[in-house]
């Protein structure tokens, strides 16, 4: 079996969008997205887009339970294919909250999505602070210090944040942006 290239998948999503709209799908649009989901079951953006449109589009001859089962399957697939990423978990959480009578599961999914997003935020902030610190201009050091303050408030226990913030402060102090002794 030959695999589709990524740019081909993206192009097929675009063609599908051109065959319909962003809010209410045309039959051709749904058909194209379903074919793509069949051909590429791990291409998460398409799974999420199809699941979203199926909730906004009333297909004649498809009853609600049938539609919900398809949406749920797509969202579970997206969660799995994305390595339980925050956006996919969030979609499944909303779906479970609105359409499935299981508040406990919905809450757990929202929490898992938040935890996943926070991990990404913690690492992104650490990366950005480190990037700015290494740039070593007064402007970037000041940006690093400012973001560092916020990062420390949001992640007071994070060794990674603590590490890059201390590094930024040392460099800022050497650049004369901070007093060397803070007593």
């Amino acid at each position: 079996m030959t695999h589709l290239r990524l740019d081909e998948m993206i192009a097929r999503m675009r063609v599908a969008r051109e065959a319909g709209s962003a809010h209410e799908a045309s039959p051709e649009q749904l058909q194209r997205l379903r074919e793509l989901a069949r051909d590429c079951p791990a291409f998460t953006p398409n799974l999420l887009e199809l699941a979203r449109l199926l909730r906004l589009t009333d297909e004649p001859g498809v009853d609600m339970e049938q539609a919900l089962a398809e949406i749920e399957r797509l969202l579970e697939q997206a969660v799995q294919a994305s390595g339980r990423s925050a956006p996919a978990l969030l979609e499944l959480a909303h779906f479970t909250d609105v359409f499935r009578d299981s508040p406990g599961l919905a809450e757990a999914l929202f929490e898992e999505s938040a935890a996943s997003a926070l991990r990404a935020l913690e690492n992104s902030w650490a990366g950005l602070i480190d990037f700015w610190t290494l740039e070593r201009t007064n402007d970037t050091l000041e940006k690093a210090l400012k973001l560092g303050e916020l990062a420390e408030r949001v992640f007071p226990e994070s060794p990674r944040i603590l590490h890059v913030v201390e590094d930024a402060r040392e460099k800022a102090a050497r650049a004369g942006l901070l007093p060397r002794n803070e007593d």
Partner: protein, 147 residues
Amino acid sequence: MRNWRALLGGLALVVGACGHVPGVERDSPGNGVHADCNTVAARIQALMAQWQFAEAEALIAESSAVGLLSRPHATHLLARIAQLNTKLGEIPARLQRAKNFPSQLKEHTLYQIEKMMDDGDFSLATKVQLKEAAKLIKEQTRLMGKL
């Protein structure tokens, strides 16, 4: 009930760009333009809490025009008001086919539904049905990327 206009008139003397994030501004010490922005934001919030949407919309438009409310913040508030004014019967047909869809609430807006919940008024629908209706309206604005 036009005292907010007088308030705005006074505040309009101080023109500045209020692009800061709502919520964060409450923690910052009130000074100059920031304090005025906080006052406008608080006033809008108060009007919305009292369901006075027409007044809130007018205040948002005027505050935004004189720079006391950032454009993104104004757009966000107007989108919220639009959501609160959405009737259950206006959501996409697919969502209206949800199991136990409370169709007796079709002519009611999200704010009327939320008010029934606040007032403990379950004469038209049960608490579960009111919650379901509110979730469906919110879900359609979310899925369409409007909020």
